[in-house]
């Protein structure tokens, strides 16, 4: 990439809202995996003479998103018809919001510390999703399309950022943050593979120091974080190179070719600006009173940044652990449930390290969500409590965890049954220590000869004899005590 050009990026993110029924009719939204056109009616299939009615819960979720993104919520907003002819849109127009969107002028904070940036949100508006097309070629070579309207009319939110993003990495970070917030507040599944979250990027470049924006290119359908990253990076490079070679950038729509790793010009919408928006006459205006706004704000879940900060200040969790624990709301809820079961006596930091370390290692290995593990917060709390009091050491605790992760069951019962309860009793450990010293005369001699690090080897031998259950602190003390005594025990050398 040419360093003399500065990229300017704005993103449009579409998120399906988590409602049970569609935006303007009561057809169900659980059409994933269903046969085509089994979740449609005269409203979402665009029959003439029907009356759409706004889904109350979609409005609630949209207000939540607006508030979570620090937006102003419009006291009065309105729906408009956006016209374009394409078979995925049975009415010939999409019901959207044009000049009176539900929410506007907000921001999202991305990055940490010195690298922190507030990215402005221009607007958040409600609209309806389109149907899906399958393009087919007949035996005689004719190209035709099959239309499935199951998705048609699903509530969709469009979130438009200011052109304030200056790298592909930041664009990716921004979308990740949006997705995290949407999931936290239960507004969207954010599932990109299933198309519940989709992203278009407007990319332009300009010579560093230039104030005017360059011609912008819209890259459509960036449907994974990897695609966002790669497509924007490629587009910045393409435009910079073109300018450096004395060329100019056409304002156009491009698509991302994942296999080739390049963006390609799409057949442009000849009249892209000719959407002929006008107010939707079938839908009366939507008002949100100050009381309603406050009520939704009161119902809003604690947002990830606030929760992360609270984990650090309230529980004394490290910044890294706090980030990991608050990535998903389910994980943060899990952690706080563990703490509830643990009570005040055990440091939260210890619990945090068991969740982010040992438990996550197992969950990641098996790609299992935290909501589906046999390791309930209560059981993990029991185990962490046992580690804290020294009933099991960390190594044995890990073995116990692996067992009840696989089979369920109580950590205490498993530890007892497997003989993994920690031995810190000196009467039990002293004979073991003595046997080890008797069997490793050379090591003992080396230690006495000044080679202090041999203690580690001897400690390891005791742990081996006790199958890892000995309390290493006690063993170390016993070893040092025994070694400091005169070598009177054992066979006298000839």
């Amino acid at each position: 990439m040419d360093a003399q050009y500065e990229p300017v990026i704005g993103l449009e993110v579409h998120a399906q809202l988590l409602t049970r029924s569609k935006m303007f009719c009561r057809c169900g939204t659980t059409y994933a995996g269903a046969a085509a056109n089994t979740h449609i009616c005269s409203v979402c299939a665009g029959f003439p003479g029907v009356l759409p009615v706004i889904n109350e819960h979609a409005v609630e979720l949209a207000i939540r998103v607006g508030l979570a993104l620090n937006c102003d919520i419009a006291e009065t907003s309105r729906f408009d018809r956006k016209h374009y002819p394409y078979p995925d849109l049975p009415k010939g127009y999409q019901v959207s919001q044009y000049d009176l969107p539900l929410a506007s002028r907000g921001y999202v904070t991305v990055g940490n510390g010195d690298d922190c940036q507030q990215i402005g949100i221009v607007r958040v508006h409600m609209e309806e999703d389109t149907g899906r097309l399958l393009h087919r070629t007949a035996a005689d070579g004719t190209v035709y399309s099959l239309v499935d309207l199951n998705r048609s009319g699903v509530p969709l939110l469009e979130i438009v950022s200011e052109p304030e993003i200056h790298s592909a990495a930041r664009a990716r970070e921004y979308v990740m943050k949006l997705r995290q917030i949407l999931r936290y507040i239960g507004a969207s599944s954010g599932n990109m593979e299933e198309g519940a979250l989709r992203c278009d990027a407007n990319v332009s470049v300009r010579p560093v120091g230039e104030q005017t924006l360059g011609a912008k290119v819209e890259i459509k359908n960036l449907n994974s974080f990897r695609m966002i990253d790669r497509a924007i990076q490629h587009e910045i490079g393409r435009q910079s190179q073109a300018l450096a070679n004395g060329g100019r950038i056409e304002q156009e729509t491009r698509g991302w070719d994942e296999a080739a790793g390049i963006t390609l010009a799409q057949r442009t919408k000849e009249y892209a600006s000719d959407y002929r928006y006008f107010p939707e006459p079938d839908l009366p205006p939507l008002t949100v009173s100050e009381d309603r706004r406050k009520a939704v704000l009161g119902r809003l879940a604690e947002l990830p940044d606030a929760r992360r900060a609270r984990f650090i200040s309230q529980y004394g969790v490290t910044a890294d652990d706090a980030s990991v624990l608050t990535t998903a709301r389910e994980t943060a809820d899990y952690f706080e449930a563990v703490l509830t079961h643990l009570g005040e006596r055990v440091p939260a930091r210890l619990a945090a390290s068991w969740v982010t370390g040992e438990l996550f290692r197992l969950l990641n290995r098996d790609s299992l969500p935290i909501t589906e593990t046999r390791v309930t917060p209560e059981l993990l709390a029991e185990l962490v409590g046992m580690v804290h009091t020294g009933e099991v050491n960390r190594g044995s605790g890990r073995m116990v965890l692996e067992e009840f992760y696989e089979t369920g069951g109580s950590p205490r019962a498993i530890a007892t049954e497997r003989g993994l309860m920690q031995i810190s009793d000196t009467d039990t450990l002293t004979p073991v220590v003595r046997t080890v010293l008797d069997n490793h005369e050379r090591a003992v001699a080396e230690f006495r000869g000044g080679k202090q690090q041999v203690i580690g080897f001897l400690l390891g031998q005791v742990m081996k004899q006790t199958r890892g259950t000995a309390d290493s602190g006690t063993v170390r003390t016993l070893l040092l005590r025994e070694l400091s005594e005169e070598p009177t025990k054992g066979p006298v050398p000839h």
């Binding site: 409602t19 049970r20 029924s21 009561r26 057809c27 169900g28 939204t29 046969a35 085509a36 056109n37 089994t38 979740h39 449609i40 009616c41 005269s42 299939a45 009615v53 706004i54 889904n55 109350e56 819960h57 979609a58 409005v59 009065t76 309105r78 016209h83 374009y84 002819p85 394409y86 078979p87 995925d88 849109l89 389109t130 399958l134 393009h135 190209v143 035709y144 399309s145 099959l146 239309v147 499935d148 309207l149 459509k220 698509g255 799409q266 057949r267 442009t268 919408k269 000849e270 009249y271 000719d274 002929r276 006008f278 107010p279 006459p281 839908l283 009366p284 205006p285 939507l286 008002t287």
Partner: protein, 98 residues
């Protein structure tokens, strides 16, 4: 209200309607007449009337988010010009991928 042939051609393109030269001339006259008729409204004094997109004094008409059964596939596809399995079948329209 005088429309140009260029206006008519543009509107026909947006509506995806093919018109002959003769039809364009007819439409130019008819569309012009309709616009002239409606533009009589411009003669009214609307100074004291707030702009509105609605003629009914309604707002916030909402429905609870409770799914109800959809129609049967056969009922929904009954009037489809062409059908293939559960799908509506249509000519391919390129250039408007969304």
């Amino acid at each position: 209200m005088e429309l140009t042939l260029e206006d008519v051609r543009h509107i026909a393109t947006l509506a995806r309607i093919g018109l002959t030269t003769q039809e364009m001339e007819t439409m130019r006259g008819q569309l012009g007449d309709i616009l002239a008729h409606v533009s009589q409204l411009n003669e009214l004094d609307t100074e004291a009337i707030p702009p509105t997109a609605q003629v009914l004094a309604l707002q916030d008409v909402l429905a609870a988010d409770e799914p109800r059964p959809s129609y049967s596939v056969d009922a929904m596809l009954a009037n489809a010009p062409e059908r293939e399995g559960n799908y509506f079948r249509t000519k391919a329209v390129l250039g408007y991928e969304t």
